[in-house]
Subunit: 328 residues, 2 copies
């Protein structure tokens, strides 16, 4: 539907997930708040890795997961993120390209390793994440492929990567390029834990008209606006962004656009195994339907189907044939 | 049941599996014989990796998978295998230790990377494997922990790693140490493709009394003995090894011991997803029951249960609680 060479270019953490199961007692013993994302130093990550069970590895990263899903639904996507010149970086780059996502950010060679996210999944399918961002947070404005950003109808940014100074600068520059080219900017808030220290920055970006499409879950919306109920959060955010998308887990999802609220229920899932990537894939589905010119209902429904697929198995990237599931 | 500090010490390839799905056309296009294992150079592996789909990574290696399963069923196990000082080596070592398998082989630092096995799984659940052994085939006799070998009731060796000169020497030395200490030696043939070039070596080892317990599947037994039917293969092998264990996929498994044949059916599986690791986990279950003093029937049954678990999901290591499934 777009006249651009690409539908979306995303900027985010280039991360490999290390996924293990654990019981609630393990989280308590290691003082890990269930459902949260915490940043770890290399030393902390090594200690936690040593304590956790045997794991499986898959490429991850919030916006990168979204692009994996977006491409799987037939979208034309590119990703910009910082890997290192190491084995995990090779895995990340391979998986992006194998999914048809253009990925050409040059690997870093200054000693920062490719980022890892240690993910602990409890029997209730909740994921508790511990990120050692490494090279991912060394993404510099110089690493941006400006042509790519101009050529994509939507620039998609993730909150995790927006925190540290260097990638935040890169993202700020990317927003300027995208808007100057007449493109839209989508932003996904990521984690209420992240928001705490970045609230003013996030609000400044939103207030300054930097964001055309904002994705948030309930917690994130409350945290960002400092309100105690969803209606208050919506009232605070909806006037500031042309499209506001709120995910509510099992309660479904909402979109506010041009003063109109569209509301869909969640897609039923036979067994929820691992909720990692639910928000990432929701955004992917929403944008995939949007880029094909479908209406808001279908955009929300498609997000719901993609999220339902990813929470029905371990790992934050789709396994089933998403294109077949969403039939756009 | 054993008076030794350990039940088993295994020697084998230290490998990280890279698992992707593909269709039959992909195998044909790349001339990859379905169900086989082929050794690849780094260059060949990089080319195949570039062509294959996005993947998930898990620690693998035939004997290492067996030890992972053996420990999961409550056995006391150690593993000897060569990793490199790199990210995949760290993953392999972590997963072994997290499963309770003692693993202390010093990482190699001479530039050979940790071995990888590119595994393509077709919709019929068959796995086609492409191994780039790297450091794994640099295992030298000097890397053996001789005390560990003396302290384990059973020394377990895999055929994949037995082929190249250096690890073959290491294994030969390990057999001498084990037998001098009055321990048993178990050997798993691995892949008919491997056997082709190693037939005389394998036969020499078996004829020389090196093997007390031999694991093989039907194809491997036929290939090794050069016979065209299973009865012929059994007649050729049974007199040479005190315990001969033959797995027959969906047809179940047999053991020949002291002139007696014990035969069990396969354990039914709701959906076979990925047959990688079936033989490895069968050996694990068989030996786990044996080390607890159970009879041959129960040894074969336990092998069948462990194999059934591992073929019901992607990856060659157990996911379900094997100890609960086999109740030894």
């Amino acid at each position: 539907m777009t006249s651009r060479a690409l539908d979306i270019v995303a900027i985010g953490d280039a991360i490999v997930d290390v996924i293990a199961t654990c019981d609630d007692a393990f989280l308590e013993q290691h003082k890990l708040p269930k459902g949260s994302m915490q940043l770890l130093s290399t030393q902390q990550a090594d200690a936690l890795y040593g304590a956790m069970g045997s794991a499986r590895e898959t490429s991850g990263g919030s916006a990168a997961n979204s692009m994996a899903g977006f491409a799987a639904m037939g979208g034309r996507a590119a990703f910009i993120g910082q890997i290192a010149d190491d084995q995990l970086g090779t895995i990340f780059a391979h998986d992006m390209r194998a999914l048809g996502v253009a990925f050409d950010t040059a690997p870093l060679t200054n000693g920062h390793p490719t980022g890892r996210c240690l993910i602990l999944v409890t029997p209730d399918a909740q994921r508790t994440m511990h990120t050692c961002p490494g090279a991912a947070h060394q993404l510099a404005p110089e690493a941006l492929d400006e042509t790519l950003i101009r050529d994509a109808a939507i620039l998609f940014l993730e909150g995790y990567c927006w925190g540290p100074e260097l990638p935040r600068k890169a993202m700020g520059r990317a927003v300027e390029i995208a808007h100057a080219a007449g493109n839209k900017v989508a932003f996904t808030l990521s984690e209420s834990v992240c928001i705490a220290g970045r609230k003013e920055g996030f609000q400044g970006m939103i207030d300054g008209g930097g964001v055309d499409i904002l994705f948030a879950n309930e917690d994130e919306a409350l945290q960002l606006t400092g309100t105690s109920d969803l209606d208050g959060a919506i009232a605070a955010l909806a006037p500031k962004v042309p499209t506001l998308v709120l995910t509510r887990g099992a309660a479904g999802a909402l979109a506010y656009e041009g003063g109109v609220c569209t509301d869909v229920p969640a897609v039923p899932v036979r067994e929820v195994v691992d909720t990692t990537g639910a928000g990432d894939l929701f955004a992917a589905g929403f944008l995939a339907a949007r880029c094909r010119g479908h209406g808001t209902d279908r955009q929300l429904m498609t997000g719901g189907i993609a999220a339902a697929e990813v929470i029905s198995h371990f790992g934050a990237r789709p396994i089933a044939d998403l294109a077949e599931l969403v039939r756009l």
